[in-house]
């Protein structure tokens, strides 16, 4: 019996420098985001501690009025950019991971049921997926966000903003999972062991989740990784468009939007550093996803 460090997957990982580097980058950024409250110099969400006099401090130099020093400068509110980015990454990553989780649970369940049951269930789920695919997913996300905001009372909108974000990105992204899982299920359910499980009297639910699902996890994993990069970008896009994280609790996308306002006034750093961070996260996750896809593809072995 092999241990995980002897597995083919780990060997492929070890011998692929791109995979190693991008996973290290992702883990470092992820840990930084996770421990932001402990490592960041200031708390950017605490509006009371901000000094407007510190606004627009350029990076690598002290503020001309207060003499305070910020490594990467401050934004218009005088928020330390390092702290804001650490907290922003936290929101971006959390929203991304939870949204992909939601999309995965939804898509895998629907795809599994559609593929296994077939008939009208299959037709309804897949036509729904087809219709949704005809719209750009960011549009779907904005639609869901808009509807959700309309349903939430105005005084709770700030607090619900993150949940609405997760919901809207998750609901715009389940189609990928559902389609892949459905097609894998169609292949898998024709295998004789599925019929063998039926004649042994296992229930449909047990066959779907205990027999078929374990056989189709690898494409799901690949899609989940690539979707994570897309979800993080989608979150940034929504926040950039102003329907995402509120300015009081900025995510990377919100910071980029704020920075964009001042880009042509010469305050370039407010946009550049959050944008680079976003690029780094999305790129590392994407490269990891590419590697995983190749590593799990039996045709490329």
């Amino acid at each position: 019996m092999g241990n995980w460090w002897q597995s083919d997957l780990f060997y492929s990982y070890r011998t692929n420098p791109v995979a190693v580097i991008s996973s290290v980058v992702f883990v470092v950024l992820g840990l930084a985001a996770l421990f932001a409250p402990w490592i960041s110099p200031t708390n950017p969400f605490d509006a009371g501690s901000l000094n407007l006099m510190n606004g627009f401090t350029p990076p690598f130099s002290a503020n001309q009025f207060t003499g305070d020093y910020f490594v990467l400068g401050t934004d218009d509110q005088g928020r330390d950019l390092v702290s804001a980015m650490l907290y922003g990454m936290r929101i971006s990553l959390m929203v991304g991971i939870l949204a992909v989780g939601l999309a995965m649970v939804l898509g895998v369940t629907l795809g599994l049921v559609a593929g296994y049951r077939g008939g009208w269930v299959d037709a309804v789920v897949m036509r729904l997926a087809d219709v949704q695919l005809t719209f750009p997913s960011i549009l779907i996300a904005m639609l869901v966000a808009g509807i959700a905001r309309g349903l939430v009372p105005p005084d709770q909108r700030e607090g619900m903003a993150t949940i609405i974000l997760i919901l809207s990105i998750g609901l715009s992204d389940w189609v990928q999972f559902a389609r892949t899982v459905r097609s894998s299920t169609l292949l898998e359910k024709e295998k004789e062991y599925v019929q063998a499980a039926r004649v042994l009297g296992r229930s449909h639910l047990a066959i779907m989740f205990r027999h078929i699902l374990p056989g189709i996890v690898s494409p799901v994993l690949v899609i989940a990784t690539i979707s994570l990069a897309l979800a993080i970008i989608a979150e940034a896009t929504l926040s950039f468009l102003g329907v995402g994280a509120p300015p009081t609790e900025p995510s990377l996308g919100t910071l980029i939007r704020i920075g964009q306002d001042f880009l042509f006034a010469g305050e370039w750093w407010i946009l550049l550093f959050p944008a680079l961070t976003l690029l780094l996260i999305a790129l590392s996750v994407n490269l990891l996803g590419d590697w995983l896809r190749d590593a799990l593809n039996p045709k490329l072995k």
Partner: protein, 313 residues
């Protein structure tokens, strides 16, 4: 006394735009407790279809259009799903594809047991070990995956799985076809033993008359969707009543015959397509004892021996 399984005048029809295809017609047979009924016939004769009909595994457009299937005296048509694994189990030809490659065999075994029996996890593990010993496997292999077993061992695992719910009837659909001959004998002996020890009724589907000779109590010979002869094994092998059974037996190589000088006999021609069945006996075009009556009227099986006009005259 009620038989364990009693199939009465079963008819299975597949309908499509070209019309109705009777893949089974007038199938009547029974299996008793502790008895192995062999079902033999060439491809497309309806052997597996009979097994599938009992298990309730007919896929649309196939459906039962006539007759009844009684299990323990109760009709099970449309109700087979609730009996699967618990009362009737089935094993298939290829033991590798009938096992989930991603699951440990022990997990499959305990899960199946706990689906059907009101037992806890530790008792299921206990029983799994016992059942591995019963089918002649080392209980330490319960942690292994299917690919870590040989073909014969896999079929033993499949049998252990099929018996996990303690069924009364086992349908074995060509259980030894994918195995080599020595392993085949072991598996048949295992089925034979289980049958005697547990009082298990077995429906053994095969196209190998050697398998029948080795292990069955009675045999049903299928041709073109219906049994043409049902008899005890020794009776059938020694004195086949139907010319088709006769041809099947004659086409088997014999170790005692002087085969160096004798060509193996074969039945001329092939089975007619089910949508082009002749008016009279389906075997008539290939039968060397064909009479006028055979072409006119379909023979019926009387007093449960052979469906042939020869015996009547």
């Amino acid at each position: 006394m009620t038989h364990l399984l009693d199939i009465k005048d079963l008819q299975v029809t597949f309908s499509n735009r070209h019309g109705d295809l009777r893949v089974l017609d007038g199938v009547s047979l029974h299996v008793g407790r502790g008895e192995i009924l062999g079902i033999i016939g060439e491809s497309g004769a309806g052997k597996s279809m009979t097994g599938n009909a009992v298990m309730g595994l007919l896929e649309p457009p196939g459906k039962i259009t006539k007759g009844d299937i009684l299990f323990d005296g109760v009709s099970i048509i449309g109700k087979a799903e609730g009996l699967r694994g618990k009362h009737i189990s089935m094993i298939f030809q290829d033991p590798l594809t009938s096992l989930n490659p991603l699951k440990r065999v022990g997990d499959m075994l305990t899960e199946t047991m706990r689906t059907h029996l009101p037992i806890g996890k530790s008792e299921a593990e206990e029983r799994a070990r016992a059942s591995f010993e019963e089918v002649g496997l080392d209980p330490s292999r319960l942690d292994a995956y299917p690919h870590e077993f040989s073909g014969g061992m896999r079929q033993r695992v499949v049998i252990a799985l099929a018996l996990a719910g303690e069924p009364e009837l086992l349908i074995a659909d060509e259980p030894t076809t994918a195995l080599d001959v020595s392993v085949q004998a072991q598996i048949l002996e295992l089925i034979r033993n289980l049958c005697e020890k547990r009082g298990l009724g077995v429906m053994l589907i095969t196209h190998d008359i050697g398998v029948i000779a080795n292990s069955c109590d009675r045999v049903a010979v299928f041709y073109a969707g219906r049994p043409v002869e049902i008899a005890g094994v020794s009776e059938l092998l020694a004195h086949p009543k139907h010319p088709y059974s006769e041809g099947l037996i004659a086409s088997m190589p014999r170790i005692d015959a002087d085969s160096r000088h004798e060509m193996l006999r074969q039945i001329e021609g092939s089975m007619p397509a089910l949508n082009k069945l002749p008016k009279g006996c389906a075997f008539a075009p290939r039968c060397h004892k064909v009479m006028d009556k055979c072409l006119e009227q379909q023979p019926i099986m009387q007093s449960g021996r052979a469906a042939c006009w020869l015996g009547e005259a």
